[in-house]
């Protein structure tokens, strides 16, 4: 993975037309994502109101008075004023409707908890654009895209809800989020414990910063996921990079490769780094969405997709050409499981619900997550983490430089034991678990590990094929949430 090259690609996305086309690197090396699963819970089944709240663009200063409309969704079918709760989804880097429709867990527990569901859109994503169409045009406009501002939005929104919804005032609020949204949920409880009584932070890699965890952990887990299916699988993938390099050295080889991988357009030598990145991205995504049931993440995927992929990659000791033909078969599972595509398009990915521009800026400022590979503990090519190079690319692209230690200064890094009431859940298959909290810190900072779980499987809707581990995780999560609710009402009673 040549990060410099990939960032160079990102620069090009500033052209308006490209703004809606997300790039692999964002998902691989930055943006966390939540896969859609319309089959298990169609969007139409969820009834919610779409609302807007006027937020200050800058919560932390008094000179710039501009406001913008933050979108949020409310579903109160099961909400009860008597003993109820507000479950507040701390929206992350994408359209909130998409997160709303893909966080089935909240819908599944609403009745049991007498819960009002609120899904708050993160500023600079979806419709919540502080400067409308200009939001990404200038670093001055982007200056207010930070996690601190987003948390302040959430705090102000909850205050607004409590002020305006009769019966909401004396109700506990629980923050829920997955991925970056899970980080926000945890940080929200840490910084605004007076606003939320607790947080469920699913697959939240709050330690994927500085040297809190090894930068190679992420790709090591991806590799382990593939090895679990069969040991030859990651070996095949590891071998493939060199083979691609050798074959692409001649124009004949490039032609052959284009054909072997069924690509939509002819490869040039210059495309090879991007091709390899696109392939890497496919393996990474598979690790994230290695769910136990068929899911439909824009293109459909089978149950346990890595198993299916690895069937084609059992034997690394085949000829170079056979190896790449096998790689194609494997890629075809991820990119063309439906069999509808006539060719594979390496300039297309499947995350248009995610705001790639916004995340690219966040990764260049606060969300500096070091990633690296060594090709030994993982199945990828050697790539060192180079902060200086990264910083230069960020400056070229956005006119800003990252402050890699700021998140640790602000949110405490590993030193968070004085906080309380946060559940950190992680699937052991999820590469993001490497930067997550996977051991209890105190008896109120709880780690839940979901065996055979991929990226925040627990937040997804109930499914007949759910492994027992995720059912136990959800039961445990509900148990903790009920405890927080009980404690809230208990202390409310003591006050009166």
């Amino acid at each position: 993975m040549d990060l410099g090259y990939l960032l160079f690609l990102l620069v090009a996305f500033l052209a308006p037309a490209a703004a809606i086309i997300p790039r692999p690197v964002l998902r691989t090396l930055g943006s966390l994502h939540l896969p859609a699963n319309p089959t298990s819970r169609p969007a139409v089944a969820n009834n919610y109101s779409v609302l807007y709240f006027e937020q200050k663009v800058d919560h932390f200063g008094f000179t710039f008075m501009k406001t913008f409309k933050q979108r949020y969704l409310v579903a109160d079918k099961h909400w009860r004023q008597d003993g109820g709760v507000i479950l507040f989804y701390t929206g992350n880097e994408g359209d909130i409707v998409w997160f709303c429709n893909n966080t089935g867990f909240m819908w599944d527990v609403a009745e049991e908890l007498k819960a009002m569901l609120v899904f708050a859109e993160h500023r600079y994503y979806g419709e919540s654009l502080p400067f409308g169409a200009n939001s990404f045009k200038d670093s001055r406009y982007l200056n207010f895209l930070t996690s601190e501002q987003a948390l302040a939005d959430f705090a102000e929104l909850i205050k607004h809800l409590k002020r305006t919804i009769p019966g909401a005032e004396n109700q506990p609020v629980i923050a829920i989020g997955g991925s970056y949204g899970g980080m926000l949920a945890a940080w929200f409880r840490m910084k605004y414990p007076h606003v939320v009584v607790g947080a469920l932070a699913a697959s939240a890699p709050i330690w994927q910063f500085e040297d809190l965890v090894s930068c190679g952990e992420f790709m090591k887990i991806v590799t382990t996921d593939f090895r679990k299916s069969n040991p030859g699988c990651p070996e095949s993938i590891r071998r493939s990079w060199g083979v691609i390099d050798r074959i692409s050295n001649t124009s004949h080889g490039l032609q052959w490769l284009t054909k072997a991988l069924h690509l939509c357009g002819p490869l040039t030598y210059q495309d090879i780094p991007h091709l390899k990145e696109w392939i890497s991205e496919s393996w990474v995504n598979l690790a994230m969405v290695d769910y136990p049931y068929a899911s439909d993440f824009l293109q459909p995927l089978p149950a346990w997709p890595i198993k299916v992929v690895c069937q084609y990659l059992k034997d690394p000791n085949v000829s170079d050409s056979r190896l790449l033909q096998n790689i194609f078969q494997a890629l075809n599972v991820y990119h063309n499981y439906s069999g509808q595509a006539k060719c594979l398009n390496i300039s297309e990915t499947a995350t248009s619900n995610l705001g790639s521009l916004g995340w690219s800026y966040q990764a260049c400022t606060e969300m500096v997550m070091p990633f690296c590979t060594n090709g030994i503990d993982d199945m990828f090519e050697l790539h060192l983490w180079n902060l200086e190079e990264f910083s230069d690319e960020c400056f070229k692209q956005w006119g800003v430089r990252p402050r890699p230690s700021w998140i640790t200064t602000l949110y405490g890094g590993k030193n968070i034991s004085s906080h309380s009431n946060i559940i950190f859940s992680n699937g052991d298959l999820d590469p993001w678990s490497g930067g997550g909290v996977t051991k209890d810190i105190t008896d109120t900072l709880i780690a839940i590990t979901i065996l055979n779980g991929a990226h925040h499987l627990d937040l997804r809707a109930n499914n007949a094929f759910d492994p027992k581990s995720v059912l136990l995780a959800r039961t445990s999560e509900v148990k903790y949430m009920k405890r927080w609710i009980r404690e809230f009402y208990g202390s409310l009673q003591r006050q009166h």
Copy 2:
């Protein structure tokens, strides 16, 4: 107290020459202050190094890259790498040298705690001016004067100290502050519990916001302090306002008044509101510095100055002229105890160490503290709290409008029970105790009340005339700090 009028006066202070002249209103209705006491601990006795640390002007954005030099003082004579602690003064609205020399408590306990003392200057005060001489010239320059930015400065500074001072890395840090500095100490522990293991928040009115406490509480306590000396004293003062109004109705009366009060310049009718404010301010200051021993707050004061003042005001039922002559005698105690002054100057006050401009801006943005008087529960004239009028004056003066509920949204108001390790100390004589935490919230959020204590008496140096209550308070404070230090080293050991 005519707040509109007083704010009008403030506008005039924007002229550079006036910048160093603080105004009574700032101290009465906004700025908290810590009186100097050079007699009990002369500045020369404290040996410290003066250092500077490069801070980002804007911690919460990435566009504006400017930095400035934050001043801080370090005294490490008694510091021990083995089992020591860093006591960190969270500087407030003034020159840090002044706070350093007036927080004798830290110097007194340094040896016992093997402590390094650090005094960090608050941005926009003393020498720590983000835009140098221009810092107050424009609301755009002032945009970074907030408590959040100040707390981030403290966090970055402590990180810097731990990184650069050998042996400091694995030491606990305790935040200490008085008045607004005490609020910062408490908020610092709330928001950055990973940076400081605890906080001593002395005379910190963290609830002097919105309607968390009654806006009349402050002046009620001032009045009670005077009543304690003798009941006629506040009656005399309450009567004085009407008498001043009546007498100042004629030019002859104005002349008489000028003479009776020994004023340096002739009064005009237009001066009367300011005269009354200046007098009110004197009573308020006396309540804050009603210390049990002679102290020297720019001008010297006797021990228990309110008692001395009230000797002249025992009988409210004297003639109008006699009453005002008595008022003069009382004022003369505060403004001319040394007997050196030939006249009283109502345009002079005694807090040039406090940054009045900075606090005026803070009061107009975040630090919106409602004050009111009704003339019944207190000895002042009726004055309602009028947010709209206040906001308009702020807009005229600074081009900003206050957000009165922001501090509560950010720091939790009364809902702070999930935090830990904060000592809130308050003297019962101190009018600021009305907005302080005076009852234990949990067994780690401790309230200490100091009987017969004025404004953060506990932070002052040991004095032979200290009442037993403050000795007990200091002992208790040291006990809690030792516990935090012990817990820190205990958990450090468990980690290894």
